[in-house]
């Protein structure tokens, strides 16, 4: 279990080259804290060594609770944040530390859709303006043809093309999220990072937006990194799932592996904690694992395995040795878990999570 183990190489399965490769990505935010008369600098280890691959047209889910670093990871991939360390290899080029002016062509191909449809659109710009700005910036449309393209995009995301000169406040939450998606689509990206795209929406609207994103994936072949805390939504949308805890990926695998036979205790707890709609329809109640306490601070994470403070399997080795993210004994290819005592557990998943 040396630190030189490259876990992800083991998980990459097929031979098809990945569109996006993330290698040992780290984001440490310095913070200042009062200590005595002076201040001490500390590091928030928001993301601490994340590895994954994304193939063209694929959809990868990043799941975890608040503070696990999933959104920070998304922001680094789109280079809204510059990583402290690590590589983001997009089509063979490492963009992790690239300068702003060289980044521009990559920015076009890596787009992000934000969680809050209310604050992520400029309230003083018309929809037409919001969508056509990226078109102009990247010189994608001839002069005079912008409106045509904007209307085409609005139609694509299921909005009335005649509403192009309205302002964001004239739209509902779900419609605003569609505008956000249209903005991302405008530049014909190859990857969309969707950061909790539906968690601010009502259930019925959430399903509409989910369907829209599925259509885009199918019709345009866009790859998605889908960041969410809602396990049901991720299962519905993603081919592969990575579960994050305190800045690290603790388990990674295909949807069926993660939901059907999770290996890591945290994944198991997460799946079993989701409220269960099935019991009421006569499905026998599932086993429930109740974690105690809260997620520790990323400023001073536990030694060894970061989950050990809440883990019922934890032993001495967990405090001293960090378990690498590797394929486990009973798992299929591409399924990896970072646990000394990994063990598949079936039948945890609620009928609807």
């Amino acid at each position: 279990m040396s630190k030189t183990v490259r876990p992800v190489d083991a998980t990459t399965g097929g031979t098809e080259p990945a569109l996006l490769q993330v290698r040992d990505l780290k984001m440490h935010f310095p913070i200042k804290e009062a200590a005595g008369l002076g201040r001490t600098k500390k590091l928030v280890q928001a993301v601490d060594g994340v590895n994954f691959d994304l193939k063209a047209g694929e959809s990868l889910g990043l799941v975890g609770e608040s503070g696990c670093g999933k959104s920070t990871t998304g922001r680094m991939i789109t280079r809204l944040l510059t990583p402290t360390a690590g590589q983001i290899i997009f089509k063979g080029t490492d963009i992790a530390q690239m300068k702003e002016k060289d980044l521009r062509p990559f920015r076009r191909q890596l787009q992000i859709v934000f969680q809050d449809p209310y604050s992520s659109l400029n309230p003083r710009q018309t929809v037409s303006n919001i969508i056509s700005t990226p078109l102009r910036v990247h010189n994608l449309v001839k002069r005079g043809k912008e409106l045509e393209r904007v209307q085409e995009l609005l139609e694509r995301v299921g909005l009335n093309p005649e509403h192009h000169n309205r302002y964001p406040n004239e739209f509902s939450g779900g419609q605003r999220q569609r505008i956000g998606i249209a903005r991302a689509l405008a530049v014909e990206p190859e990857v969309i990072i969707a950061d909790e795209p539906v968690s601010a929406l009502d259930v019925s609207i959430q399903a509409q937006v989910m369907n829209l994103m599925e259509d885009l994936r199918r019709d345009l072949g866009i790859a998605f990194v889908f960041i969410a805390h809602d396990l049901g939504v991720v299962r519905h949308f993603c081919d592969r799932v990575a579960v994050m805890y305190l800045g690290k990926i603790v388990e990674q695998g295909t949807r069926d592996e993660i939901y059907g036979a999770p290996q890591h205790p945290y994944t198991q707890a997460l799946l079993s904690a989701a409220p269960d709609l099935g019991t009421i329809r006569g499905v026998p109640p599932k086993e429930r694992i109740r974690l105690v306490g809260d997620v520790p601070s990323p400023i001073d994470p536990p030694s060894g395995c970061r989950f050990r403070t809440r883990c019922w399997k934890a032993e001495d080795i967990c405090a001293t040795q960090e378990p690498p993210l590797i394929a486990q004994a009973k798992s299929g290819p591409g399924h990896a878990a970072a646990c000394h005592f990994a063990e598949p557990k079936v039948d945890l998943t609620a009928a609807t999570a």
């Binding site: 989910m210 409220p275 709609l277 974690l291 105690v292 005592f341 063990e343 998943t349 609807t352 999570a353």
Partner: protein
């Protein structure tokens, strides 16, 4: 990879699983956990299958024909229209609906929290037999926080950031009890311990920002329950929390209800939470009750297209790779509700009703099987067969 000890731990878990049916409410508070370090508890809540009003006694909370309107510059917003429900002691009613359905507004009315200058409330709200609609504020103040308490959605913003948690809890006690600060402090420490906050004495002196999200919601619950309320209104109590913490808080609410036998009104949009917590369910749409019954009735035998739509909007296991079937369109504006059934512009089944009844007549809230407590507001004749034949298979 697995050590013998690891196997042992696992066996332990499985042993417990065998006895899980009887292990209701074994979720330990954090205080106990300190002794039983890190062991997760395994619990399943029993379903309390009973009728809507179990015994002959009058329910503690009775709401009848409640209407809440807000006059605004754009016109009158009809937030709640003719809502009726009842919650007996010891039972949980879940009010389900999307934003703008009136679920929070109706509960704020029960607390008497609406600004009376900007709100018009009619109908009747009786608490333990006493009418509270039309009571002056000075009378309502005596009820708020004492007989009825509220737990809010976001504990981060619902606790005062500048007062210590202990101060806020003892204040809630002293409003309704003429006691010294020391007595109130003792009571607050008791409550912190009860809701599973470890080390209450240290926590008492801390500010909300020094608490984690889950701990804050526990403190909020401690504050709500400090006066032993007969009715607790929990407004999306776990929406702002992570899923593992949500499970802890739901367990806590369940256990406390068992201990104190209070009535709970749970406002939520999450049907999973409803399934785990509720005895009775009321589905609201555009300010009206559209379906009402026991949790089994509403979730397993729903009889209203809107409820079907909600259930179908949730991604399910068996249909994981299929398309979701969302409800088309948007909820109506409360300034101008559609004529007839409020759901008719979004309803995929309205063609199956003869004539234009869905557009012209507001359906009554009627028993789904001609009699009984399960009611729904829909003109469809063959609701049961449509559900069984078309909707249920899609739900998997």
């Amino acid at each position: 990879m697995t050590t013998p000890a690891g196997d042992e731990g696992r066996k332990d878990l499985q042993d417990r699983k065998v006895g899980q049916e009887t292990m209701v409410g074994t979720v330990p508070s954090d205080g106990e956990v300190a002794r039983d370090a890190r062991n997760p508890s395994i619990a399943t809540r029993e379903r309390r299958s009973t009728t809507l009003t179990p015994s002959g006694e009058t329910p503690y909370l009775v709401v009848e024909d409640l209407t809440v309107k807000f006059p605004t510059a754009d016109g009158v917003v009809s937030a709640v229209n003719g809502l009726s429900y009842a919650v007996p002691l010891g039972r949980t009613l879940a009010i389900v609906g999307e934003s703008g359905s009136g679920k929070s507004v109706s509960s704020m009315a029960v607390m008497g929290l609406h600004d009376r200058k900007r709100t018009r409330i009619t109908g009747s709200i009786r608490l333990g037999g006493d009418e509270i609609v039309g009571l002056p504020d000075s009378e309502l103040m005596k009820i708020r926080g004492d007989a009825v308490a509220m737990v809010f959605q976001d504990p981060q913003s619902s606790l005062h950031p500048l007062y210590t948690v202990g101060n806020q809890i003892s204040e809630a006690y002293r409003v309704h009890h003429k006691v010294s600060k020391d007595v109130a402090k003792k009571r607050a420490l008791e409550m912190l311990d009860l809701v599973g906050i470890p080390n209450p004495i240290r926590r008492f002196k801390q500010y909300p920002h020094e608490f984690s999200g889950g701990m804050r919601q526990r403190a909020m619950i401690a504050m709500g329950l400090v006066n032993d309320p007969k009715l607790v209104i929990a407004d999306e109590p776990t929406t702002a929390l992570d899923v593992t913490v949500q499970a802890q808080i739901l367990d806590l609410l369940n256990n406390l209800q068992k201990e104190f036998g209070s009535a709970i009104v749970l406002i939520t949009h999450d049907l999973g939470v409803v399934a785990e917590m509720a005895d009775d369910v009321l589905v609201m749409y555009a300010g009206r009750c559209v379906e009402y019954g026991t949790a089994e009735d509403v979730l397993a035998r729903p009889r209203m297209p809107y409820t079907w739509g909600l259930l179908e909007s949730i991604p399910t296991v068996s249909a994981a790779s299929e398309r979701l079937r969302p409800i088309k369109g948007l909820p109506p504006s409360l300034l101008a509700l559609p004529s007839g059934c409020s759901f008719n512009p979004r309803c995929p089944y309205k063609d199956r009703v003869k004539g234009e009844r869905c557009i012209t007549d507001l359906p009554e809230l009627l028993p789904v099987d001609g009699a009984g407590a399960h009611t729904s507001r829909c003109h469809l004749h063959d609701k049961a067969s449509i559900y069984e034949a078309e909707v249920a298979p899609r739900l998997g």
